[in-house]
């Protein structure tokens, strides 16, 4: 369990964390989601002890670790750019923490073998990091962090430097791994899809503050404010109302509350089709339809359609 209370961190004039409090349940997988500069990485580094907060308290498993160095916190940290020890083999990288702890040789050998098996690098143990692909390097980084049985596992944009396909694979793999090991895990990401897919709970951050903490579904269905609404998924704005593209219905005939719009572009994304519309006042909308719907409506570029929001959100204030 991780508790951070009232964390303040400034870099010169810039306030990276503005009194942030967060709780991460034991055994859960939590995502810190936000745009760059939102303070999510800084918060993770404060939890790890790699940054010292100007104010606030960090507790790991009910123990106050605020004053402790990273060495004494028992956290595993995975870096975006891998931070691989370049002059060591994969095997030596993973064994590093155990050797520092002066574990018996047989135990080190056994544990490293087990971990390399777990991250599917068993046959690449004597390679150097430079000889691995990005995805393999990050799996090595994960094995290295897990080797010392950390109380919590902290991942700082772990898949950010990888290409889209590898990123998706590793994301699913990380979730499976977590379901096996149940290590309390925090993952920092700016990718809402990644956060929603992998985490039990998502903490949305912006400008050094927390905007909302909720399970992915709740975040999507009941966003606390405009920022969360537009950050966790695409959104259209109609006056004061926010509408998701899949909550827009298109009709061929006007029907009371509908608004007229012209089809500007049809983007075929496999099963789904994104219809880009422009209203006569110049406002641009995007609607998400299935292929069948588009075919039934016989949508064409330049065609006039009538837009009806099926579900919309209006924020007070």
């Amino acid at each position: 369990m991780i508790e951070a209370r009232g964390i303040v961190k400034r870099f010169g004039d810039f306030t990276a964390l503005d009194s942030v409090s967060v709780e991460v349940e034991a055994g859960s997988l939590t995502a810190l989601l936000g745009p760059s500069g939102s303070g999510k990485s800084t918060l993770l580094r404060v939890i790890a002890g790699l940054e010292r907060p100007d104010a606030g308290q960090v507790c790991l498993e009910r123990r106050d670790v605020t004053a402790l160095a990273p060495q004494q916190r028992g956290v595993g940290f995975v870096f975006q750019h891998y931070a691989a020890f370049k002059h060591m083999t994969v095997w030596e990288n993973v064994a590093f923490g155990l050797k520092i702890r002066r574990r018996p040789r047989a135990e080190v050998k056994h544990r490293v073998g087990e971990l390399l098996e777990l991250v599917q690098l068993a046959r690449l143990g004597d390679r150097y990091p430079a000889q691995l692909s990005g995805g393999q390097r990050q799996r090595m980084g994960l094995a290295r962090a897990l080797a010392v049985d950390p109380k919590v596992l902290l991942l700082d944009e772990p898949f950010g430097a990888l290409d889209a396909r590898v990123r998706k694979e590793l994301r699913a793999w990380l979730r499976r791994l977590h379901d096996e090991t149940h290590t309390t895990t925090v993952i920092v990401t700016h990718d809402q899809e990644e956060a929603m897919e992998v985490a039990d709970r998502v903490v949305v951050m912006n400008g050094g503050r927390i905007e909302q903490t909720a399970p992915p579904r709740e975040l999507y269905d009941h966003p606390a404010n405009e920022f969360v609404m537009s950050f966790v998924g695409p959104v259209n704005r109609l006056g004061d109302a926010f509408i998701r593209p899949h909550d827009i219905e298109l009709l061929v005939e006007p029907n009371g509350a509908t608004q007229e719009a012209m089809v500007q572009r049809l983007v075929h994304l496999g099963f789904e089709v994104r219809v880009e519309l422009v209203r006569d006042d110049g406002e641009v909308l995007s609607a998400q339809l299935t292929r069948e719907q588009v075919e039934a409506l016989e949508l064409q570029r330049g065609q006039i359609v009538y837009v009806r929001p099926m579900r919309q959100t209006v924020f007070a204030d």
């Binding site: 790699l50 940290f77 691989a84 020890f85």
Partner: protein, 258 residues
């Protein structure tokens, strides 16, 4: 195609004119009367003493500068302290400053009436070591600083989260990354230390068989019209330089494929 050959010819010609001809001439002069006269030229007690002294000075100055250089590079790159920029610039000063100025500065500081006068520093080994250290100060620092900058701090942070102390992190993570750069700096510094003339000349007093290094001995012999002795000693210096060059080329590929 022709352009390339012209370029090559020009480059090689330039090197030949500037370097190969004079050095080759020295070799020619030295062995002009056969090997043995040359050998006797450098086997005199004075010459042997000068060579020994040169090696002793290098053996003290180079390790001292290596330790200082690595620590200074770590301080410059890893720690933000007030005056770091000035410190970084001052380390380079010996590269720009004429060694004679270094020697004169030491002379003023340790000489009669100087701040630190009367400690048997001048005209003795300590002064010569100090002069050599000052002149060779930048080499290790200059080689290590860019490598430290390039490797960044992430590996060190990773080591910290895995439980390694500052010392363990240095020994297991930082040092392996900078050791070739350090070695390169040591080789350059050694070459400079062995060949140092100006600063040492000022502070040594040039007492034969006492404070005469090999470079000073070469000049001494030349001025005494002992051409064979001068050329033979110069050849010894040149051979040391060639060895250094070979060491450098041996180290460089490792540095680049690191």
């Amino acid at each position: 195609m022709i352009g390339r050959y012209v370029l090559r010819f020009a480059a090689l010609g330039y090197i030949a004119a500037l370097l190969a001809t004079p050095v080759g001439y020295v070799f020619g002069k030295t062995f002009g009367h056969g090997f043995w006269p040359a050998w006797h030229g450098v086997a005199t007690p004075d010459a042997v003493h000068a060579l020994k002294l040169t090696l002793i000075i290098a053996a003290i100055a180079v390790p001292a500068n290596t330790i200082f250089g690595v620590l200074a590079a770590l301080a410059i790159v890893r720690h933000r302290f007030p005056g770091a920029g000035i410190f970084n610039a001052v380390v380079d000063l010996p590269l720009a400053l004429s060694p004679v100025v270094v020697g004169l500065a030491l002379l003023l500081l340790y000489g009669r009436g100087g701040w630190l006068g009367g400690h048997h520093v001048l005209f003795a080994l300590p002064g010569m070591v100090l002069a050599t250290m000052l002149v060779c100060l930048p080499f290790v620092v200059r080689e290590v600083v860019p490598v430290l900058r390039e490797i960044g701090t992430e590996q060190e942070q990773a080591a910290a989260t895995l439980g390694a102390s500052a010392l363990q992190t240095f020994v297991r993570v930082t040092w392996p990354a900078i050791r070739w750069a350090t070695a390169f700096g040591v080789v350059l510094g050694t070459a400079r230390a062995l060949g140092e003339f100006g600063a040492v000349s000022v502070v040594s007093g040039r007492l034969a068989e006492q404070t005469e290094t090999l470079t000073l001995y070469v000049q001494d012999r030349y001025q005494a019209f002992d051409e064979t002795g001068a050329y033979a000693s110069a050849v010894v210096l040149a051979l040391i330089a060639v060895t250094t060059l070979l060491l450098m080329t041996a180290l460089k590929p490792k540095e680049e494929t690191r």
